[in-house]
């Protein structure tokens, strides 16, 4: 495993090593002293393992493709935003907009995620060991958001076809988000995601939420609301 000391080489120094795909492909890296800096291990585009020893700032692992990124600490705003594939794992809590707009891959947050977790998610699977804040899965289009704790206000507001699984309490559901029946195929999918995430939770304790699909088309009866 190669060791990169961010305090010595800076964010650009770290990222330029990881972006040199001819050398970094299929290798393992350890990043020391992340010091809460932004955009660490962003835009990776090959299979590699990156372990970050501490707390990171904004957009860590953003736009990730294929790489496995382990953050041992807290993740700032927009962790794994717009991830395409691969995995980002946070051992601590995460700030707002975790996994925003992500198209694929797996984001695991062992602690709590803050507000707007999975906002506009487009195919990513997100597993949160703790709770999520308000407006999570806002306009979520595709993918699965698994919340082992509670969800804050307005969960799934204006949701499209993403599927939300919540084990704890939901403070309130957003517009057009409803509870749905947990069928066998959902139980199977949830079990599979939980297993890959390595977070321990019993799939039978979760409830499923998704779109009522009443906002898809303009309804003349709603005209007064505008």
């Amino acid at each position: 495993m190669d060791i990169l000391d961010l305090k010595e080489v800076g964010v650009r120094g770290v990222n330029s090593v990881l972006h040199d795909l001819e050398l970094s492909r299929n290798k393992s890296y350890r990043i020391d002293n992340p010091m809460g800096q932004h955009a660490i291990a962003c835009g990776l585009d090959a299979q590699m393992q990156v372990q970050i020893e501490g707390h990171v700032g904004f957009y860590c692992g953003g736009m990730n493709q294929q790489a496995e990124i382990m953050i041992k600490g807290h993740a700032g705003v927009g962790v794994a935003e717009n991830m395409m594939s691969g995995m980002v794992h946070v051992s601590g809590n995460a700030s707002e907009s975790a996994g925003a707009t992500a198209h694929g891959g797996l984001l695991v947050i062992e602690g709590d995620a803050s507000s707007r977790c999975g906002i506009s998610m487009k195919g990513v699977d997100i597993v949160v060991g703790g709770s999520v804040g308000h407006m999570s899965a806002f306009m979520a289009q595709s993918g699965n958001l698994v919340i082992c704790g509670d969800a804050g206000d307005a969960l799934g507001d204006s949701i499209y076809e993403a599927i939300l699984y919540v084990r704890g309490e939901v403070a309130s559901l957003g517009a057009d988000c409803i509870e749905k029946e947990m069928r066998a195929e959902h139980m199977l999918k949830l079990k599979e995601i939980l297993e890959i995430s390595s977070l321990k939770a019993d799939p039978t304790e979760f409830r499923r939420y998704g779109s009522a699909r009443t906002l898809y088309n303009f309804d003349i009866d709603n005209a007064d609301a505008y």
Binding site: G36, H55, G57, H74, S95, E96, S114, S115, G133
Partner: protein, 299 residues
């Protein structure tokens, strides 16, 4: 933009290191606010019969000792002054309101940047590191500090518009965001006898909290009422003589992160400001929730 930072020491043994612990926090937020910076430090509380003013003058050669002598003669009171760059810490046993009206009459160009028993406020135009160094804060001891780095986007780069804002009673406030009902609230507070030095929205928030506390509210009650009455976007970090608080508006879209160890509590716009503190790698770190009051010290 703008960056805000706050540090409250839980372990009294660290008080002699407050200034050196706080410096890298403020400097790290320079990229969010390179125009000007301000800090409030709580230290050296005065006697119960005394009051401490933080004053500022745009002329660096201004003779604060003369102002002190004149104040002493006019109000027949004890006055001590100590000059710190463009600022002065003035301690007197005269009544606060009399001193304020005397200053407004005789020295209208002097800005009262803070007052109370232990608060001292310093703010100046320039890069945060330079501002911090010119007020000799690196070796400062104290209990808690609050700071602001400013990127002026809608008004001039002046010290008057810089945070922290204080309107008396040891309370000060730094703000990331913007308030939308500050004009209405300013008029209401002016009816309550509060005077304002700027058109700034943050000064209204500080004045609101001061007014509440002077009316007998605890810091927590003042903040609870603030959530109901202040409209807009805000992450506030607030200091009082014994207290330290953080509160965000119900939407909570202005960045904030908090960290706590057995020794200290810190808040910042971005975690990288906190990363410099000893023990930050083992701290409990979280994003403060909307409409939730986080408070240490005073309840």
């Amino acid at each position: 933009m703008c960056g805000i930072v706050g540090l409250y020491l839980k372990n009294a043994e660290l008080q002699s290191q407050l200034g050196s612990m706080f410096k890298p926090m403020l400097v790290e937020m320079s990229s969010r606010g390179p125009d000007s910076a301000g800090v409030a430090i709580y230290r050296n509380p005065v006697e119960s019969s005394q009051i401490k003013f933080s004053l500022a003058h745009s002329n660096p050669g201004f003779l604060w000792e003369t102002l002190g002598t004149n104040l002493s003669a006019s109000l027949n009171c004890e006055v001590s002054t100590s000059t710190v760059a463009s600022h002065c810490i003035l301690i007197t046993d005269a009544a606060e309101t009399e001193v304020i009206s005397w200053l407004q009459t005789n020295y209208p160009e002097v800005r009262i940047v803070g007052s109370g028993k232990s608060i001292e406020i310093f703010k100046e135009v320039g890069p945060p590191e330079m501002v911090y160094e010119q007020f000799d804060l690196e070796k400062a001891s104290g209990t808690h500090m609050i700071g602001h780095t400013r990127m002026a986007t809608e008004s001039a780069v002046t010290t008057a518009g810089s945070h922290p804002f204080a309107t008396g009673a040891d309370l000060c406030l730094v703000h990331n965001g913007s308030l939308s009902n500050h004009n209405l609230l300013r008029v209401k507070l002016e009816h309550e006898g509060i005077t304002f030095q700027t058109e700034n929205d943050t000064e209204v928030a500080a004045a609101y909290m001061t007014w509440k506390i002077r009316s007998g509210a605890t810091l927590r009650q003042a903040l609870e009422d603030g959530i109901n009455e202040l409209d807009g976007f805000y992450t506030f970090c607030i200091g009082t003589q014994d207290g330290f608080a953080v509160v965000r508006d119900p939407i909570a879209c202005k960045h904030a992160v908090m960290a706590e160890t057995d020794d200290w509590v810190a808040m910042a716009t971005e975690f990288r400001a906190i990363a410099h503190l000893p023990g930050s790698d083992q701290a409990k770190i979280w994003e403060p929730e909307p409409s939730t009051i986080y408070i240490w010290g005073e309840q």
